[in-house]
Symmetry: D4
Subunit: 224 residues, 8 copies
């Protein structure tokens, strides 16, 4: 017989500082409801990513009422939505308006973990003055998540200007030779600026998790 | 029987303003000597590209004495080497030292056709100040040939700053995800700066030919 | 907090001679309306590309009334539509009927910038007489934008016949090994005709922008 | 125990009209000598392809004396070399000088099977007059083997002009986006001329075998 | 202004023995109707391929009444549908039921040109007895069009058994590593049977055109 | 004329121990009904895979009543559904909830052939404790079918822990660089654990067939 | 400091029935000597794969004297070379002479583990009679390792004929579209014969390890 | 004229905390000597990467005497080699012996910048006990650089166990489907462990630079 019990990794936050999240793409509505039910039983908040509006609408009315759903980023938070306070330690910078969904997934993931974030949009390289006038500001964060598609030129430009950790998130913006984000991905990996790190195409969640690891590394250092 | 007579397109310069050149890669020494012999008979100068130093050494001493060979760009000119005069109408800008061979192939091709060119090296995006301090200068040419490998971020940066024709030449500089120039090529094709045009990886010759077409277009306009 | 203000690069036309256009693919209706609103406030005309008929229908009735929408090319012009006069300086030649959308995107972009263009359709290589009988005509333009899919043989044929600038626009016409335009793209990049330049698959807009740079280069030369 | 006896398909010529040939690439000298020995015992002639000059030199002096080796095409014929007579029924046309090796492999394979062939070199599309002046001639063969690299535009040009069978052999001529023959291969497969058939990159042998099948088909028809 | 007149290559049949057909994929209904109208004016029959049932339904009732539409192969014939007589000169063999659409496109194209064809379905290699019991029969045709997806093993099996021309048509049957026909395509190109020729994925039309060229070659030979 | 008779390989079970199954993807409803009809006539049970719920609904009511359809795995069984007894000889282990469909296809195929199977879900590597606590159990089966997408790390982890046959089934779970299962596929093929074998992306059916061959091999050995 | 101590997994044979082997490609001579030294200290035999003749020659004379080196398969065995007895339980079948190295790597790995193997060479599909006359024999083994390059048609042919486990090992034999073994690999993965399993290109070692797991599975079954 | 003056970005260390290094691959000996000369003039230390032993031997004897060259990692340090003190803040963990060169490039880059590093080798997943016994230790660093080739399973295993920043460096170890590091790269990007970040294949230098950014981020935080 098939054992349908889901083995959720609820101790992950304790183990590595990042809560297990639910990637909803590829899961049926029943599976998603079941996992939220597990969180309910344990009284744990839960982050869901890649939840399409139609899939959200398909959840029971009771659950929908307890979930904070953001259709732009397709993220949902079950449980209290934290309101981070204090100055932002992380920035999310995006090249164009089409990159907003991914930028916002990073922002929401950081918020879920209680981290204040500054979001800076529309500073693509074709109008270089936009990033140049932000140069000072961008140098003040521990980590800058850079979200860009097409040729991903923004990764190298910011990577060459700031000394904090630069996390490149390629997006599928563009067409033809943009190859659904592969070109931006390869650009990020071959950035001429040293030490730029990269996550998967469209993976705003992963970039935020990397930022959480960096902040935790600080804490480790402070303890040490 | 195999007809070994080479059908060289000697009228190409008259037809489209660009002389047929000899791509030496993939040709045997005997084939190369044969083609130079044809040019000799017609008393036409000849440009040879992708001629490896070893292949040059293999030519007869008599021919070597009549050829101007440049080992960096692997180009050779049979016949008088023109010395273009007047202010440069075209610039060749390259991102890093490793791109010098391709940049120089473009320079030599333009020189062969009598066009004065300005070469500007080492202005990669990781140190953005280098291109920013050249901004005025770059805006003064009819065409700027931009030579860059790795992530090709320089294409978009220059494309967003200058109004002349920007011809992107991707190079194989880099490793891994640079995929022997494919990443720079795809970046050039998806540049967020509008109207950047692209030639094949490492094709400094082709970029120069495109510049020749642009200058000829001016002449057409002046005549028109 | 997320700053939703769009950073539009309104000075681009002054800086490099090409107005910033709005790539509508990947943007929500709200984002598109917001950007048109910014143009309205500045009293600037605006070009929109890749606007699907359904997305156009979703705009407010007021905006739709002020926009010239062309469903074939999926372009829209906000503001007065220029009627270029004088003889055409640029030609757009396409291989087959299926390439009409891309050819028309180039035509509309040039018209938006006030440039008269000649469009020549259906001159694919399988019936070579069609391009041969246009040979004289094609040699009379400063730039010829060639639009072709499948094997892109037309790029080399025209590139070998005319002396003006040849801008190849590969299209996704074809199936299987045509790989949604990649084969035509690679053919354009490896054209045996010297100096053919290339833009992204389906990028009629980019080809037109390149032509604008060429015409501007003439102006620079005339001034110089 | 490993059975080292080679299972050569000596009856293939009788079965399908094409003799089994030995692809020497990837075989050791000992293996090649062993196979020639088998042919010797059966007193059958034998065609060897992709035999590098160095591998030929490594054969025993006795064998080298009985083999007709052509270093350009890297083919070797053991046994009497046929001299086909009568008018050519097949033509081999190649785009550039760099394609000569592959063209000659086709020619030698046909000769080995006793078929007279016309070889026409250097008629690439960049100088279209070269193919146009051969148009009449090319229309007179049962099959035309077209050998071309780079963008493979010659396949469509000839395919649109002649009514015989057009067999496209892509070659690795070119660099960068030519991707060692893949671009010419994809061009051949997506040719806008109807009914062009294709063999593997550099497979002059296979193209010749296809021509043999066509000639045999005639014979079948004549019998029928 | 855009010249909307379609340049149809009506003389193609006379020139190379194959009528120009209309590839409907990528064309609008208006474009398709316009082309049929041209054929109507010239009183020429016309073959349309890749015409989706929905596109057929969108044609005017008058035209639909004059067209023979086959939804399986998505082909349509305007004008009288020929009924070929005499014994079949060409066979179409397919590996599985899923390959029927492509096999039938070849059959219909041959029928349109008046050629009698034998269709043999479901003889895939997993049950080898099916092709073995057809071996004699398959050896009796001038050309065998083999239609197969997945690993395309049928190409080599038939290519090794019969002496006529074997034209491989890869199909998109399969999933995952079948990569929409690319695996079958590459298998066809690297067939261990000598002289197998290949057309594009799913190109039943092209395979039929190749067969027409072969039959025409016979005629040339008979005349010669 | 086209012979529409389907050549079903009904003797396959006798020949190699695996019944021919019907891959419904790419087949029309009529074709599927026809094949079930053939099984009905022969009174043989039949397994159908990749049958979409919509395709199932399209079957005649009579047939639907005689078919056991499982929408999760998209498998259908015509005829009596076996209930395997005895301890499981094969295990199916999957990394995440999104891999359930493929895991279940393997389970259903084994059940159809009368083999008892243990299914173990949700033991992905990110929470390594989940697979570690199953280590003993996994070592008790003759074959373990491992179903995983994304980076497929589970293949190597289990392959290094157990001595039975490990059959890796990559799935399309994930996005971007997961490339619809290609990354998991390549990971499986390059597993650092020795002797892991691989089937196509999503091919739960094939993995089950491989397990059947293994069990049959036992029987052969017992007889031997 | 870098800890140069190698962590060799000497207990692997006990854990999963397969001894850890040394993949010599990518290792320096010093590293290889160091690992053999570890085996010497533990008095354990050791299998080395992908050891180039030149690398073997570079080992110390003392070690070379204690190693059984096979230059065809590039395998080396340190310690006593087992001589398996009894009838072969596994067969290794290869398509062509060029596949001998990989076939022999499988044979040597099985011999190292004491398993008797039958090797059957040169039974490629182009001459189908060769595999047909072995059909009975091939059906008598628990596992058949099939080694083939080019189009890999042999995988499906054998997979459809025998009921034992069929392990496909693609090889890099061929050129062009064979893409160094990728085509044979994809053919293996999409084999139309059910339950064929696949290992990496050229991985004779891995195929042998899989066979070891199958034989061990028998033992498990016998114990159970 | 070509301006040969190199524009070295000597202020980069001040600007972003990372000194510009010289990627020697693709540079001539003369270019490398020239750049070292510039550093000499400024009395700045200099790191050179990808310097092949043969290229090092080609430098002038004077320079070789002032350079600390490490042939394993192909790195060279001009100027005093720092000896970092204090407990390691960063770990470099590698899967196999073949990954040593890349691991050591990371170690040397960190040492050049004065950072103490712990190197842990040979803890690949096939013998999982090796990484499990290091689990505690690995959790004590601010950043863990994980170096692995083949299937890159180590990235997810470590990413799921430790809470610090995990920087994945894929390597080219392996063959066939390992595709010179692409498979490990894609595995890293699709790691099922959240927040793993990735650099280019073989880019030990880049991973070390990312670690420098992380440590600098701590310093920023401490200041803040």
């Amino acid at each position: 017989m098939i054992q349908q019990e889901v083995k959720f990794d609820f101790d992950r936050r304790e183990r590595i500082g990042i809560a297990e999240a639910v990637l909803c793409a590829g899961k049926t509505g029943a599976q998603i409801e079941h996992i939220i039910g597990l969180a309910e039983k344990r009284k744990q908040p839960l982050l869901l990513t890649r939840l399409r509006p139609r899939a959200f609408s398909g959840l029971s009315e009771r659950l929908r009422g307890r979930i904070d759903f953001d259709p732009v980023s397709r993220t949902a938070i079950y449980g209290p939505v934290p309101v981070p306070s204090g100055p932002a330690q992380v920035a999310v910078a995006s090249a164009g308006t089409s990159d907003a969904a991914v930028a916002r997934e990073a922002f929401r993931t950081l918020a879920f973990h209680g981290v204040a974030t500054e979001v800076i949009m529309d500073i693509g390289v074709a109008g270089l003055w936009r990033v140049m006038e932000r140069r000072e500001q961008l140098n003040g964060y521990r980590a800058v998540i850079v979200v860009a598609g097409m040729d991903g030129a923004l990764f190298s430009v910011i990577g060459g200007l700031v000394g904090g950790v630069v996390i490149a998130v390629p997006t599928a913006t563009g067409y033809g030779a943009a190859r659904r984000g592969k070109t931006a991905l390869h650009s990020a990996l071959t950035s001429c600026a040293p030490g730029v790190v990269v996550v998967n195409v469209g993976n705003g969640f992963g970039a935020a998790c990397a930022a959480l690891r960096i902040l935790r590394a600080d804490a480790v250092a402070a303890r040490g």
